[in-house]
């Protein structure tokens, strides 16, 4: 039965749900590598660039890239603490977002920072990437922690 929200103007509630069969394509390997404890990125040998998030094809020369293992060590390039978010992350608030500059990677990687002491966080701080033991098969399966 249609739920009526207001009579004048007439407003009805219309719910909408959908499940996508979403493929990660060739970047699947990033997620399967995580289950063996490895953090991987892709590299174009021609352009000498390493990408994380991984790209299967190099945006500079369109050659196919190859997988490389990375250390997961790096520094904070910039950070923010969020007190509001989109609907599906409201339950996590507050949380910290960071761009990390990872060893051997040319791009910056967006991830969460998990730390007990938010006040100590600053640009240039050393971090290490961690891998979830209970994968959700999403980019949130990895995050940064202070590397002390």
């Amino acid at each position: 039965m249609t739920e009526v929200y207001s009579i004048d103007p007439l407003i009805i509630n219309t719910p909408y749900e959908i499940t996508y069969k979403h493929s990660y394509g060739k970047t699947t390997k990033f997620f399967t590598s995580l289950s063996s404890g490895k953090l991987t990125a892709t590299r174009c040998d021609h352009c000498k660039k390493t990408f994380l998030p991984p790209r299967s094809d190099c945006p500079y020369c369109l050659a196919e890239t190859r997988w490389v293992e990375i250390s997961g060590k790096g520094t904070i390039h910039t950070f923010s603490t969020l007190y509001f978010s989109g609907e599906r992350f409201l339950k996590d608030l507050p949380f910290q977002l960071v761009y990390v500059d990872l060893e051997g990677v040319d791009t910056l990687f967006l991830t969460r920072l998990k730390t007990k002491d938010m006040k100590k966080v600053k640009v240039g701080m050393k971090i290490k990437m961690k891998i979830s033991r209970e994968p959700e098969w999403r980019s949130s399966d990895v995050w940064a922690e202070p590397d002390e």
Partner: protein
């Protein structure tokens, strides 16, 4: 050779957090009626040869092919129509597309119809829809929220250049308070019958004490979410001269792009594309664009300036309407547009250059922070505002003379998507 193209009419709806009194197509009709009947023009609706329809998300109303509903509702069938979508830059891209249609001779008179109705879902869901315009494999699952992305970029701008939260707050005060003289503005409850009740003027203290949404951005640093519509009519030179005595010419347009994931952007040392008045040695050590600057904005400005023959934007422009999604991004955009050197954007607001009574007023309408952000309507609204300003009739439409920039001859409108993924810049002249 492209034909000369003029803007000949503009119209807006009242903007509001929620316009439940009207459907999306009824809002579009509100703006179209103003464009056709409230401007001093000699033009009948039948003389419009086609439409460019500008809206961002199918999700807000769960209706695909809404463009067709608009075309039908406003009575333009069977004439040509196209839907333009490019995130936050949808409106700017639509104005540029209308320019291309008329310049090429495909249409003699084109109507751009921009709208969005964002209120049918709750604010957190609305923010989630907007965040779906970020990479949903990699960026969105981390905590997808645009204010978070902009906070990261703002924080890096602070680190790189010493920009302060006070300078950002000055942008909020300027735009919000400009909006208090514009009857269409969502934050103007005195003049807008659909205005927000807790709107009105704000002070530096109000901004700095408003709660953090995503450090360093606070609630009053962030733009509105709106329901509403904006309509702009463009015409060829021959037609324009018959329609109005005061056509406003489009003399330059540019569009730029950048990586969907801001982290993928290069950090090239000395990689800044130069504008005519700039010197290479200014940026010898700067990594560019990184996440602190918008390369797409710079590229769009470069093209538009070249086309319009602008060699010193700060001197040659009389006003700007730019995409102030965040106070920080207004400061960043000053630099991308070459109004000042990279890193000096904060000083520009501090010195009052961009104030209503400054040398180069920015967002006299109130912008996205003070007036509206009904995404697909936003870039079109900027075109309408610039048109009225250059015709000298902004006061009449706004319901207050305070916003009219005296003797304005040339201005720039700037429309911006994503974390700077699509940006357009368009020059309009009397």
């Amino acid at each position: 050779m492209p034909r000369k193209v003029a803007v000949v009419a503009g119209g807006l709806s009242y903007f509001s957090k929620s316009r439940r009194d009207k459907t999306q197509e009824e809002l579009a009709a509100e703006a179209a009626r103003m464009a056709l009947f409230d401007n001093d023009i000699n033009l009948s609706k039948d003389e419009i040869d086609g439409t460019i329809v500008s809206y961002f998300s199918d999700h807000f109303e769960n209706q695909l092919l809404f463009g067709s509903i608009i075309q039908d509702y406003l009575g333009f069938n069977p004439k040509p129509s196209v839907r333009i979508e490019g995130g936050g830059a949808t409106g700017g891209l639509a104005v540029r597309d209308a320019y291309a249609h008329v310049a090429s001779g495909l249409l003699d008179v084109a109507m751009v119809i921009g709208f969005e109705k964002m209120s049918e879902v709750n604010t957190a869901k609305g923010n989630e829809f907007i965040a779906l315009a970020s990479d949903t494999d990699w960026d969105f699952p981390i905590g997808g929220f645009y204010s978070g992305y902009y906070a990261l970029m703002a924080r890096r701008h602070m680190e790189e250049f010493g920009t302060t939260e006070e300078q950002m707050a000055m942008v909020a005060v300027k735009n919000r308070n400009n909006a208090q003289h514009n009857k269409f503005a969502q934050t103007n409850p005195k003049m807008n019958p659909y205005g927000m009740k807790d709107g009105g003027k704000i002070t530096m203290d109000d901004v700095l004490k408003s709660p953090y949404v995503a450090f360093p951005l606070k609630r009053l640093d962030i733009c509105l979410m709106s329901d509403g519509a904006a309509v702009l009519i463009l015409a060829s030179e021959e037609k324009a001269k018959k329609i109005t005595d005061t056509p406003i010419w489009i003399t330059g347009t540019g569009a730029g792009t950048d990586a969907m994931r801001a982290g993928d952007r290069p950090r090239t040392v000395a990689g800044v594309p130069m504008l005519p008045h700039e010197k290479k040695e200014w940026y010898r050590k700067l990594e560019y664009p990184g996440v602190h600057s918008f390369r797409a904005g710079r590229e769009s400005a470069r093209q538009a300036y070249n086309m319009a023959g602008i060699t010193n934007p700060l001197k040659q422009l009389d006003l700007i309407e730019l995409h102030d999604a965040y106070t920080s991004s207004e400061i960043q955009t000053y630099e991308d547009l070459g109004l000042t050197k990279y890193g000096q954007g904060g000083k520009l607001i501090e010195e009052g250059i961009t104030a209503l009574d400054g040398d180069l007023p920015v967002n006299p309408s109130g912008g996205l922070i003070g007036t509206m952000h009904a995404v697909g309507a936003t870039g079109v609204m900027q075109g309408v505002e610039m048109f009225w300003q250059l015709q000298g009739v902004a006061g009449k439409f706004h319901g207050s003379d305070k916003t009219q920039i005296k003797n304005a001859e040339r201005g720039l409108i700037h429309s911006h998507a994503g974390t700077g993924t699509y940006v357009t810049a368009t020059i309009m002249e009397r």
